[in-house]
């Protein structure tokens, strides 16, 4: 069997497992939905597999984050299909999905280690490339341990938003997409919408979001929530009641308030909506490490000009295309060495 076929089989094996038992902190339905989204993205774009972007690394260490349990799958598949030996450094907070991944890709040379961050640096020995995900501090620590010869693509904290035309006639579809973006992974990870900016009146969007959030909560119930989220949740809802409007249901909220109160940290299953007179008011976002933007605007260029690495339809925020650049970085090429054939 060729490596691409073996990779596809490994992806399918991992996708056939029950993610509900992996202690991801998500609900059983939420974990399975995230698992399916990750697997489908690869199976829908299998042509990406086995296509090198240069000379692939012999051994790649993937430093996994603990909050988005599917994150390593696409990179493991991509590099395993090219013959790279993939070493996965799993988070001690959520090791099971990565352990399962290593088992399913074992025939392709993958293996996993569950170690605390500071005890895992020896895994870098012998690796010619490192792909890292985590906090800025963790990535800085990782960077300091790498030799100049080790290729690296390290991805620290990023934040995503949504920018919506509130006068659109298809607000129900937009709302359903945004609700699913907020529901998948319960607001964890760089591709969760931290806030929704709405051009024009927010009223219709807020009205459309409330039933969409309720539907999403029924389909994908919210998972575990840290007790410390409680006061932040009540503060945010309270601020919305004082300065705008707040609609709350069982484990979800839509909080509308002036853009002056925008925050870059998403809360699990809360969508904060801020009115916007023009895109010019988004200028403060340029100071943030932007990732993706969900939008129903026809012209997405101004969002890219603000610094977003990716603009997509609502509902696709958490479903990035397999083989895309990550945070604007072509990971495959970055971690591969190039031979000039000319």
């Amino acid at each position: 069997m060729d490596r691409v076929a073996a990779t596809l089989e490994a992806v399918a094996r991992w996708g056939a497992r029950d993610a509900a038992g992996w202690s991801t902190g998500l609900s059983a339905e939420g974990a399975r939905a995230a698992q399916s989204a990750a697997v489908e993205a690869i199976l829908d774009a299998e042509g990406v597999l086995g296509v090198p972007g240069g000379v692939p690394p012999r051994r790649l260490v993937i430093w996994c984050a603990g909050n988005v349990f599917t994150a390593a799958l696409e990179w493991t598949a991509l590099f395993a299909s090219l013959g790279t030996e993939v070493v996965l450094k799993a988070s001690v907070r959520c090791p099971a999905p990565v352990a399962a991944m290593a088992e399913d890709f074992a025939a392709l040379g993958a293996r996993a280690h569950v170690l605390p961050h500071a005890a895992a640096f020896h895994l870098l020995d012998g690796a010619d490339a490192v792909l890292g995900f985590g906090s800025d501090e963790a990535m800085a620590a990782l960077q300091s341990r790498l030799s100049p010869l080790q290729r690296r693509s390290l991805h620290g904290h990023r934040v995503s938003f949504a920018v919506v035309d509130g006068a659109s006639e298809s607000l129900d579809a937009v709302a359903a997409g945004l609700a699913m973006d907020a529901a998948l992974y319960d607001g964890r990870g760089c591709m969760s919408p931290a806030a929704v900016f709405c051009l024009g009146d927010t009223g219709a969007l807020v009205d459309a979001l409330a039933p969409a959030m309720a539907d999403a909560a029924r389909a994908l119930p919210r998972g575990e929530v840290d007790p410390a989220i409680g006061p932040r949740w009540r503060t945010r809802c309270g601020l919305a009641r004082v300065t705008g409007r707040c609609l709350e249901g069982d484990g979800w909220a839509v909080a509308a308030m002036p853009a002056a109160h925008a925050e870059a940290g998403p809360l699990p299953r809360m969508l904060t909506v801020h009115p916007l007179r023009s895109l010019d008011e988004l200028a403060p976002l340029t100071a943030l490490p932007l990732s993706s933007c969900a939008t129903n605007l026809t012209d997405r260029e101004p969002l890219i000009a603000l610094g977003f690495e990716r603009a997509c339809r609502p509902g696709q925020l958490q479903r990035p295309r397999f083989g895309r650049p990550h945070d604007g970085v072509d990971v495959l090429t970055t971690l591969s060495r190039q031979i000039d054939r000319g």
């Binding site: 909050n67 988005v68 995900f133 963790a138």
Partner: protein, 342 residues
């Protein structure tokens, strides 16, 4: 709000901050005050969103963090504002008061009830002086207790060690030494000096060590007080915050709440009242001109003093720790010594 209504509410509050107030009188007054604040404090009315509480636990409690963004005040021309230090977030909360008379009366009456005979005439203060920082509620309180206090602290320069120790060493009459835990730790950490305070001296310790590093933790500070200031110095604890007009005093068996202050605990995540340890909420009749019910970020338990007997006691157990960082957070904090290889 008309000035007559405002004055009537102030007079009612002044009468309520009475050490002989019974629990049933307090409850009635609190529910009446809530009804008044819903109309008189526009921001609180919007926050409360039409709630009709039947008991004190149902009065909508404002999370203290909301004081950073919202002005809760019954008067358009408040005569006093006190601000938080802002050390946690860099943004300062503000408690606006129509006038400080009820705050001052409440503070003084409960202080005198808990610490009768406290030698305020000979006060050495290690808290922020109100002369230079009029928005410090703690400084205002100490100045109100002790108009002739000597001040040996400046936020920019820290403790005036020479001046403070000289005053303590020279004391021939009982002293009231008022300080934050951090200032007192500096007083003891940064010199080897000792004093023998006369019997009857009182050392007020307030505040914790959040976000600060010191050699002395809380218990060590309690031990250091008699060691460094002599057996004549009795340590008492003060619990207060900018957003709360009343204070609690600990003279040996937990922090005693004044009879016009109702304390209860809630589940941090849901905000539902709980028995035993939880997030502390206060219903404070002295917060007559702002928001009578607030939710703190402190954890503790409450011991009831009995039916219609004032003086519930609060036992603090720390601050609610922050939730894990959102976004692509990972592993710097991952220090568990578990390891797994697969």
């Amino acid at each position: 709000m008309s000035s007559a209504s405002l004055e009537a509410a102030r007079v009612r509050a002044l009468s309520a901050v009475n050490v002989r107030l019974t629990a049933s009188e307090r409850d009635r007054a609190a529910l009446d005050l809530y009804q008044w604040q819903r109309e008189a404090v526009p921001a609180y009315g919007r926050f409360a969103a039409g709630a009709r509480p039947a008991r004190l636990e149902d009065i909508p409690a404002v999370p203290v963090a909301l004081f950073r963004d919202v002005r809760f005040c019954a008067s358009a021309a408040p005569q006093a504002v006190y601000r938080t230090s802002g050390t946690t977030t860099g943004r300062r909360g503000a408690h606006w008061m129509p006038d400080p008379s009820v705050y001052e009366a409440a503070a003084l009456r409960w202080f005198q009830a808990c610490l009768p005979g406290c030698p305020v005439g000979n006060t050495v203060s290690l808290v922020t002086p109100p002369q230079t920082h009029p928005d410090s509620s703690l400084g205002h309180m100490v100045a109100h207790f002790a108009p002739d206090a000597r001040w040996f602290f400046d936020p920019a320069r820290g403790v005036d060690l020479g001046g403070a120790w000289a005053a303590l060493i020279a004391a021939r009459e009982p002293v009231f030494l008022a300080g934050t835990a951090f200032a007192l730790a500096d007083l003891f950490d940064l010199t080897d000096l000792r004093a023998a305070l006369p019997a009857g001296s009182v050392v007020m310790v307030t505040g914790g060590f959040k976000g600060r590093h010191t050699e002395l933790d809380g218990p060590a500070l309690q031990r250091a007080i008699p060691e460094r200031l002599g057996p004549g110095a009795a340590a008492v604890g003060e619990y207060g915050m900018t957003e709360l007009s009343s204070q609690l005093w600990d003279t040996g068996d937990g922090f005693r709440a004044p009879p016009w202050l109702y304390v209860y605990t809630v589940d941090p995540l849901t905000g539902t009242p709980v028995e035993g340890e939880g997030l502390l909420r206060f219903v404070d009749l002295a917060n007559w001109g702002s928001a009578l019910a607030i939710e703190t970020q402190d954890l503790g338990t409450v011991t009831r003093s009995g039916s219609d007997v004032p003086g519930d006691r609060v036992h603090l157990s720390g601050r609610l720790t922050g939730a894990p960082p959102r976004g692509c957070s990972l592993t710097v904090e991952e220090s568990r010594e578990t390891a797994w290889t697969g």
